[in-house]
Amino acid sequence: MSSLSREKLLEMFTWLLRLRRMEEKCIELALSGMVPGWLHSYLGQEAVSVGVVLHLRREDYITGTHRSRGHDLVKGVDLKRYVAEILGRKDGPCFGRGGEMHLADKEVGAMGASGIVGGIVSTAVGLGFAAKYKGEDRVSVTFFGDGASNQGTFHECLNLATVWKLPVLFVCENNGWAEFSPQGKVMCVENVAARAAAYGLPGITVDGDDVEAVYQAAGEAIARIRHGDGPILLECKTHRWLGHYVGDPQKYRMPQEVEGVRQFDPLMRFESKLLKEGILTEEMIRETGEKVRHEVNEAIEFGKNSPFPEPQDMFKFVYAEEGAAK
């Protein structure tokens, strides 16, 4: 039996479902050609966002990647504005400028994401630095992939954050694929967490498709960090269901592997477990499904109906206007 409260477990289940339904709809939008650029699907990795971000306060910071679909939503970005953003519309929190890869909503502490692999890990270090500088007990969490752990800046950041004992949680979502390359071809360590040893910070590996395990590990890590014990590297082993982007033919992947990863489905695993434990009933699943479907459909409609910026709007925000700083 789970040690977590029934309410917490149901909240986690609802978020897993919401992220799943949302992602399915976003993929439909991408396939219909409405999403500018790419859509880097998050299908299959939802347990990481849910398990980590549910621990965070509104004032805590997160930064993400090109594949950060779940984190921002769990952190509190409005679903409707979220869809508007990935469609490049005015009502997005970034005015349609961020799109799918560079979404930020400062108001809820979703500080930004980067289209450059590993590019924004250092930003999270800076956010943690600012919290410490100001004497706040905020925590800064940065999500990145196994691919980013091969970037030099990642190593610089682990070292610097550890040297200065900054309140940063480094969350590696290890889905086994760095764009088109399998982990085994580009790294000689099995666990990214092992890299922490080189810099003197704790490195932990958990089953990233088990939302409870992630929640458990992240909870302990965040508590220690908030207490002032310095940064931690948390590696969540998960699976990327689709290609690097929606529409990727994945010729570099074996069909059995592509099929096989679905057995790790974090949503189904959690749902069956809760059903078995009597926390969830078929009736509740239907009701939650209905509620989530409604929310998601509303968000999609809102996004599609949100106006595009005007071409001349492109000149906004290149530089700060007088008095722009708050």
Binding site: Y61, T63, G92, P93, C94, F95, G96, R97, G98, H102, A104, D105, K106, M111, G112, S114, I116, G119, I120, V121, S122, T123, A124, V125, G126, L127, G128, F129, A130, A131, Y133, K134, S140, G152, T153, E156, C157, N159, L160, V163, K316, F317, V318, Y319, A320, A324, A325, K326
Partner: protein, 324 residues
């Protein structure tokens, strides 16, 4: 008024701004204990402590990115990169993230980040410690680039840069740090984006940048003796560039020479020349001349390096070619 060295003007500006605003902090390699490789940060660690003056590991990429996060959270980082050449190892955080953060995130953030770095050949420091790469950064929307030539401008511009809500690259020339100049006793600012006419003249406009301003002024003295009067304009800020002052001078003299220490090809001289032709071609009475370094890396060997750096004589030669 008081007399002060170029490098001390940097220290005074940092000192005053760090004292003025608790959101300002200094970060970089060897700026605390080491007080900066050119002594730019003298006494600041002792005065403000290691919360405000941060010595970093040799990890430019990490601490440049850190500045971005710190700025997002409302701080005003002043990052020191020692040699401008080292900016190449932290281009991603600077160009892809800091310069674009306000834009890409739809105006949610301001980026009050100042980056100080040294430019200039002349010390035998060679290809990795002497480059003038200002044109790269002036080409990036979202960044501002400052290159002062006098102690007065150093102090006033650096203070303005730190108070600016945009990322500003403050490039000082390491070979003129001992040059003395007068500055007011009381506090003052020099606005970004405003050129300064360092010497008025009537026959040829000479736009000179950073250390080349000194060379242009030397050239002006020699040319004056031969009856040629040049007007020396120091843009002081490369981006945004005060084309208005340059163009109004060209309208007066009808002739233009542009001097920078950076390699002439694709340098900011090309941008200035192109803009003058676009906006004031009908005022030109002669071809525009550019004086810049040759298209080679910066050599170490003294005779080569001396020949590499543009000189007053080259400026004189260029002026004479078009001053009929």
């Amino acid at each position: 008024m008081k007399e002060i060295r170029y490098v001390r003007a940097i220290t005074e500006a940092l000192d005053e701004e760090i004292a003025r605003d608790e959101k300002v902090f200094l970060i970089g390699e060897d700026i605390g204990r080491g007080e900066g490789i050119f002594n730019t940060h003298r006494g600041l660690l002792a005065k403000y402590g290691d919360k405000r003056v941060k010595d970093t590991p040799i990890s430019e990429s990490a601490f440049m990115g850190l500045a971005l996060g710190a700025a997002m959270a409302g701080l005003r980082p002043v990052v020191d990169i020692l040699f401008m050449d080292f900016l190449t190892v932290c281009m991603d955080p600077l160009i892809n993230h800091i310069a674009k953060a306000r834009y890409m995130f739809g105006g949610q953030y301001t980026m009050p980040i100042t980056i100080t770095a040294s430019t200039g050949a002349g010390l035998g420091a060679g290809p990795h410690h002497s480059q003038c790469l200002e044109a790269w950064f002036a080409h990036i929307p979202g960044l501002k680039v400052v290159m002062p030539s006098t102690p007065y401008d150093v102090k006033g511009l650096l203070k303005s840069a730190i108070r600016d809500d945009n990322p500003v690259l403050f490039l000082y020339d390491k070979t003129i740090i001992a040059v003395k100049g007068e500055i007011p006793e009381e506090e003052y600012l020099v606005p970004l984006g405003k050129a300064d006419i360092k010497r008025e003249g009537t026959d040829v406009t000479v736009v000179a940048v950073s250390k080349m301003v000194t060379q242009a002024l030397m050239a002006a003295d020699k040319l004056a003796a031969e009856g040629i009067s040049i007007e020396v304009i120091d843009p002081r800020t490369i981006s945004p560039l005060d084309m208005e002052t340059i163009i109004s001078s060209v309208k007066k003299t009808s002739k233009l020479v542009i001097v920078h220490e950076a390699v002439k090809k694709f340098g900011i001289g090309a941008e200035i020349a192109a803009t003058v032709v676009e906006e004031a071609m009908d005022y030109l009475d002669a071809p525009i001349k550019r004086v810049g370094a040759p298209f080679t890396p910066v050599p170490i060997s003294p005779p080569e390096e001396k020949a590499y750096i543009p000189s007053a004589d080259q400026i004189i030669e260029a002026v004479k070619e078009i001053a009929s």
